[in-house]
């Protein structure tokens, strides 16, 4: 043991085991890639389609760079210990999504569609709004536990948001799914995307309080722990809610998403496998039940089982009262035609998908133009976001934070699976958007908010514990000499 200066060094290194490096510079480095890659992709599209570097390159590059830089600075200031991967990954997806949306804007075939509008400028604006929302969440939500106070308000909010599309005059039916509302002067909105976050907050708050009752008060039956009837209440309510969405808004995806999210959170809260068995059973019953009388769902299932037949029906122009769509088959052809390495950006024919090529079906364009390699990279990026989210849940110190983080990550994972699986023909198609990639304002904004909440939780989790108050005795013990 030596001098006082030495001792202070010794002191910090002991504390260092508790504190973690902030990793903000890692995030900055990754962000550079997340901006440069889409800029190169943009140049690539311009050269492929018009043989020249696109005129908007500078403004696009600067725009994306500024958005990323502001996001980074806000994280550095308000959530310094937050996960370093989430912001760059989201920026990268948002950036390449914009490029592909712009690429589809250039398609002559899509320009001939009756309701064609240039989607890229709108998407850029929505991305900026999304990042603004991201910043707002980080600045105003100092601690995620504050959300716990709003458990029931969140529930009410979620229900209102979900019902909005059914309000006459406000909601409208867009190609079979009634999940949009029209706000005069502002455009259309998909409230379900925001309801996802509100519901996650409600579930986390509710389950944190009720988890002991749900976990312990149960009867054993045939090797499974069955919950008590009164504890079943909430799960039944959520189940009915998701069925109602399915029936009235014919939105299989959102319904699956909410129910799946709830089951995941319930399982994490109670640590009981029986909930999963129970949940799967209920979703199967619900889906089969609804599918047996909803022609919209039946068509989707038919198109999934035999996309080629559905394609032929749509081409032959049969009038059997069902809207036959060639899209499922067109998407498969797009993926297959891309092969391993793809045709190169701007050189495919994914515009054959027609309507929704830049939203629900945007992954097919990635498949055709960037190939198997590109789609696998995109899927792995989504996988990384989800796993970083669950890592945040593991690191979180409070049950509410754990539940909220896993709920949001799980919902994100299910959404990616349902959309990508639908477009690739793994499961029936549902009308949902690829987070960050697809054209759609609500989706981009809601997902930026989701990332912000995850960053907030991870910041709280990784923030070093406050240093213990300096003990007045410390000096005393040091001066003992032989």
């Amino acid at each position: 043991m030596s001098s006082t200066t030495n001792s202070s060094q010794h002191h910090t290194s002991t504390i260092g085991a508790i504190g973690t490096p902030s990793r903000r510079n890692t995030e900055l480095g990754l962000l550079v890639f997340a901006v440069v890659i889409p800029v190169f992709a943009y140049v690539n599209v311009g050269l492929a389609i018009n043989d020249k570097i696109p005129a908007g390159l500078l403004s696009y590059g600067i725009g994306l760079g500024v958005i990323a830089a502001i996001g980074h600075l806000v994280v550095r200031k308000f959530a310094p210990y937050a996960d370093p991967l989430l912001l760059p990954l989201a920026t990268l997806l948002n950036g390449v999504g914009l490029v592909v949306i712009w690429r589809l804007d250039q398609s002559k075939k899509l320009q001939l569609l009756p309701n064609y509008v240039e989607a890229a400028p709108r998407q850029l604006l929505n991305s900026a709004l999304g990042v603004a929302l991201f910043i707002a969440v980080l600045i105003f939500l100092k601690d995620h536990r504050i959300l716990q106070r709003y458990t029931y308000i969140s529930m009410a909010g979620a229900v209102v948001l979900l019902i909005l599309p059914l309000v006459p005059g406000l909601g409208f039916d867009n190609f079979g799914a009634k999940i949009w509302i029209r706000i005069p002067g502002l455009g259309s909105l998909q409230p379900g995307e925001f309801a996802k976050i509100a519901l996650a907050v409600f579930f986390a708050g509710y389950l944190m309080v009720k988890r002991d009752a749900l976990a312990l008060a149960s009867r054993r039956f045939m090797g499974l722990y069955l919950p008590r009837g009164r504890d079943l209440g909430p799960i039944i309510v959520v189940w009915i809610l998701s069925i109602l969405i399915l029936v009235f808004e014919t939105d299989l995806g959102t319904s699956l998403l909410f129910f799946g999210m709830f089951i995941i959170m319930l399982y994490v809260a109670t640590e009981r496998t029986s909930w999963i068995v129970f949940g799967l059973l209920m979703s199967a019953v619900g889906a089969v039940g609804v599918a047996s009388f909803e022609s919209h769902i039946q068509t989707r299932v038919q198109a999934w089982l035999n996309p080629l037949h559905e394609y032929k029906l749509s081409q032959s122009g049969v009038h059997d009262g069902i809207l036959h769509s060639e899209q499922a088959m067109q998407a498969l052809w797009a993926f297959g035609s891309g092969g391993t390495l793809g045709t190169g950006l701007g050189q495919g024919n994914s515009d054959l998908i027609g309507f929704a090529a830049n939203s629900d079906f945007i992954l097919a364009t990635f498949g055709e133009e960037l190939g198997l390699a590109g789609v696998m990279a995109i899927l792995l990026i989504y996988g990384l976001i989800v796993e970083r989210g669950i890592r945040t849940a593991l690191a979180a110190r409070d049950p509410f934070g754990k539940l909220l983080a896993v709920g949001l990550s799980g919902a994100f994972a299910i959404q990616v699976f349902v959309v990508a699986g639908g477009v690739m023909g793994l499961i029936p198609l549902t009308g949902m958007t690829m987070p960050f990639l697809a054209s759609g304002g609500s989706s981009v904004m809601a997902n930026w908010a989701l990332i912000a909440i995850l960053l907030r939780i991870s910041d709280t989790a990784r923030r070093p514990a406050p240093a213990p108050a300096p003990s007045p005795d410390a000096e005393m013990t040091q001066v003992v000499r032989p």
């Binding site: 994490v268 297959g336 092969g339 024919n349 896993v406 990616v416 690739m424």
Partner: protein, 490 residues
């Protein structure tokens, strides 16, 4: 709560894994099946994405490509003198697919052929656009024009001209014809043009390639095959040997007389005289004397009863395999069920002109890469030897008599030895329909070489029946085709 969290992490990993596996399934395992699916519009888009290579005759292309107005097909095929060349080229239409050379050599023309793979890969790296290769045909533009113009004045028919020494096809014309440019695109206008030339709207069947895809009773032109059979089987050994031919002659085992056209010197006539006057009685009897097996064998050596690929498919001509003796007699003078494509009869004439050797007919000389490297060159190939060189020369002298003194006088060309045979084939129930006028011939230059053999078939709707004869209608067309070939050789 961490144990279930880890499980959820694994579950989410499995979801992503399922997506990755599915992606590999559709983008790797099934990729080529999906990519090449005929219903996948990309196949057609790809086909028309670059200007197609050209089909070339005498160093000049008879096809072209123009930018198309369609939203996804960039280029459209055009044809020069479309109706004249369509029996050779076939068509390549955005809406209706491709046929014949356009279809068979599609890989070369679009540049997708495997043999162009290396070049395409280089082009891709150097940023050059993919180009199609060219198909160089053996056709002779002057002969084709003579053939088509000759037919145009006379109603339905077809002409095939072959270089006997190689089998190279010099002319391949069919009339009425169609212009493949008219429906090369995929607009409503193209659809209308397409429907207009279909059999349902045009009973004259302009889309029918009569030179290759229709069979006609060859009538008296078939007598040269019967004569070849007689010589080859030793029934007679010279053109000037008296044949054992009674007149009148009843079909064997019947009391039905086989009639000649008019009063002609057919009784015990030599084969030369019988061919000169086209005696049904003489050749009917020769057929019976040679026997149906030997007749069939000889016909098959000339190419009957099998499809030909030049490389465009030609229908099989027919010499009946099952028949009794009277039917053998009728078949041997080109009636009953005997039927031949114009290509088949041109092959007969070319084998005789080439001293008995039948060369395999072909119309693609070479396939060229975009940078004019030769990818494939067709070498002349002997198909069979229907008759010996000596017998071929006997038959030549007989056919030359036909043109010099007989029914084929209208095919005479000054300074050139022409051998030929006329034919007038009745058909329809009780011979009710307009007969086909046939003429097959070859030309022989003073140096002994034979540059062209030709077969012409014409059905003239307007001519009265009596005036229809191979010598009157078909021989002048054959003559102008032969002259065109000889002129272009000089």
């Amino acid at each position: 709560m961490n144990k279930p969290l880890r499980r959820i992490a694994i579950f989410c990993g499995l979801l992503v894994l399922a997506l990755l596996v599915r992606d590999n399934w559709i983008q790797y395992v099934q990729a080529s099946a999906l990519k090449d699916d005929k219903l996948n519009r990309r196949v057609a888009i790809e086909r028309y994405a670059t200007p197609r290579g050209d089909i070339i005759v005498d160093g000049k292309s008879i096809t072209g490509s123009v930018k198309s107005a369609s939203s996804d097909y960039e280029y459209k095929r055009t044809y020069k003198d479309g109706p004249m060349w369509s029996p050779v080229t076939g068509f390549a239409s955005q809406a209706f697919g491709a046929t014949q050379l356009e279809s068979i050599d599609d890989g070369i023309l679009t540049g997708n052929d495997d043999r162009l793979f290396f070049r395409n890969t280089l082009d891709m790296i150097t940023g050059k656009k993919k180009q199609g290769g060219n198909v160089i045909t053996t056709l002779n533009a002057a002969a084709q024009k003579a053939a088509y113009d000759g037919l145009k004045g006379r109603g339905k028919g077809a002409v095939v001209a072959i270089d006997p020494s190689t089998g190279a096809i010099l002319a391949l014309a069919s009339f009425p014809s169609y212009d493949p440019s008219a429906f090369a695109g995929n607009s409503n206008k193209d659809t209308k043009a397409w429907l207009k030339v279909q059999k349902a709207q045009d009973p004259n069947e302009p889309m029918l390639n009569r030179a290759l895809r229709d069979i006609y009773p060859p009538g008296s032109t078939f007598k040269v095959v019967t004569a070849a059979a007689a010589l080859e089987n030793g029934l007679y050994t010279s053109a000037d040997e008296k044949t054992d031919s009674p007149l009148p002659y009843n079909l064997p085992d019947t009391t039905t007389p086989l009639k000649n056209e008019g009063t002609i010197p057919c009784k015990n006539a030599t084969m030369r005289v019988a061919l000169q006057f086209s005696c049904n009685t003489v050749f009917g009897k020769i057929g019976v004397d040679v026997g149906k097996e030997k007749m069939l064998e000889e016909a098959k050596k000339f190419g009957f009863n099998s499809e030909q690929f030049i490389p465009v498919r030609s229908n099989a001509s027919n010499f009946p395999e099952k028949m009794d003796r009277p039917q053998t007699a009728l078949s041997s003078i080109g009636q009953f069920e005997t039927a031949a494509t114009p290509l088949q009869m041109a092959m007969v004439a070319s084998a005789i002109a080439n001293d008995g050797k039948l060369m395999k007919p072909y119309m693609v000389d070479k396939l060229q890469a975009p940078n004019v490297d030769v990818l494939e060159q067709t070498e002349p190939e002997e198909m069979s030897q229907p008759l010996s060189s000596k017998n071929a020369q006997i038959l030549q002298s007989m056919m030359e008599t036909v043109v010099k003194d007989g029914t084929g006088k209208k095919a005479q060309i000054s300074g050139v030895t022409v051998g030929g045979k006329t034919g007038t084939a009745q058909h329809g129930v009780d011979n009710s329909e307009k007969p086909y006028a046939w003429f097959i011939s070859y030309a022989k230059l003073p140096d002994g070489s034979s540059p062209v053999a030709v077969a012409v078939v014409v059905q003239d709707e307007d001519a009265t029946r009596d005036s229809i004869s191979g010598g009157g209608l078909a021989a002048p067309i054959a003559k102008s085709v032969m002259e065109a070939v000889i002129k272009s050789k000089q």
